[in-house]
Subunit: 254 residues, 2 copies
């Protein structure tokens, strides 16, 4: 039974990242894995899709006994071409990550990792994005692999909620210090942007986007609180962005 | 009073599109307009930001008496660099569009036009994205300009709801046939993707993303219903993607 489940895996750090290899190592114990991942880093690509350019798709022998493909597009492109061109069928499960870096709070919007999972939810496929709260490209994924195992066991034993995906963030911590899983809401936070202005060799200016992640949301039910306290956070994410609570107010204005 | 309001304008079709010029023509009657728009088409870029590459920012004299800049990045980059580098202050209003093509339903997720407005909402700035339901680059924006005028009058006379932006879609219709504004929810719909496989001059395959927009959501409170019946639709959009209704269910699983 276990081995017949079809699992599509992608990420946004690209197929050569340590995070996706760690995810595959756990996921292959739960079903038939197929990898369709970006051929280069695609961090910060959000829900971008390639509509004004072509896509390339190539086979990869990077993972032993695991069918794998690189795609020239974004993480969401990888899900679309993975379902409709590679598998030619909807998989039973979509996993994205493990991202090198946190995707807590409003970072879901910018995250290619999470947008791939959101695309899976739109297709009504159980989908989970995993992120380790460390940007180190050689980070230790021991705890992350333990959390992936915990999450997959739970969701495969239960009915996956319809119309959502899961945003799992894992603290940059150790198995010893890990406190378990916490179901959370996304903290209300945002980037306070700055632009670092530099001058190129021709005397022309260019800019780097930088900034600090800032929040004044001290709720103990948030993902930021969970991560700070050595829990893994799970936030259910919906793709319907309608602000239903504002509809009555708008009726009064228009 | 009117003339002191600062309005930041962007789009995703690029600074040369007819839609942004139409938006500027109306907006300049309501305040001081500053344009920061992509230097090339950025359709389908969703909430992508440029974090692994530099950004260029150049002045443009494309619009008479209107300060304007082109940015090498995405629509969300334009909002960020517009606020933090060009204006050095938060504007009173952010307008995005007028997009050439519908951004109804789940297209909000893929839309650079709407993601720019969502970024504005995250900054707690009243923000509106406008889209004309016609992909014609030379479309008639007469009705669109009328709708922009209607929307700006209403929102500037009232307190703008906090934490949301507005997604305004305008039917490809005439002033005579136009029925007015309808407050809506986003229809539950998605793209049924297909990939058109072609062969390049070297014999290698490449793919174009294509497909049909499909929905079985017949609700008369949806944006798709409004547009079909010659109304302009307004959907309030929130940036918090937490699926609060699923939290209890997840507590029972984990």
């Amino acid at each position: 039974m276990k081995n017949k489940r079809n699992i599509l895996i992608t990420n946004d750090d690209g197929i050569f990242a340590k995070g996706i290899r760690s995810l595959i190592e756990v996921a292959k114990e739960f079903g038939n894995v197929c990898v369709v991942a970006p051929d280069k880093p695609q961090s910060g690509m959000g829900h971008a899709i390639t509509i004004n350019n072509l896509l390339r798709l190539s086979t990869s022998d990077l993972f032993d006994k695991i069918p794998a493909y690189t795609c020239s597009g974004t993480p969401v492109d990888c899900i679309k071409i993975g379902i409709y061109e590679v598998l030619k069928n909807k998989p039973d499960l979509i996993l994205s990550g493990i991202n090198h870096g946190a995707n807590t709070s409003t970072n879901v919007l910018y995250s290619g990792t999470m947008s791939a999972a959101v695309e899976g939810a739109m297709e009504k496929i159980p989908s989970v994005g995993f992120s380790l709260c460390s940007f180190d490209s050689n980070a230790d994924f021991t705890l992350s692999k333990h959390v992936v195992w915990q999450v997959l066991e739970k969701i495969l034993q239960n009915q996956f909620p319809n119309d959502i995906c899961l945003n799992v963030n894992i603290p940059s911590s150790t198995l010893d210090n890990y406190k378990g899983i916490k179901i959370c809401r996304a903290a209300n936070a945002l980037w306070e942007d700055r632009f670092d202005k530099r001058i190129d060799q021709h005397g022309n200016p260019y800019y780097w986007l930088t900034g600090d992640f800032s929040h004044d949301d001290d709720g103990e039910d948030t993902d930021l609180f969970a991560i700070k306290n050595d829990f893994a956070s799970i936030v259910p994410i919906q793709y319907d962005m309608t602000a239903y609570h504002s509809i009555a107010k708008l009726h009064s204005i228009f």
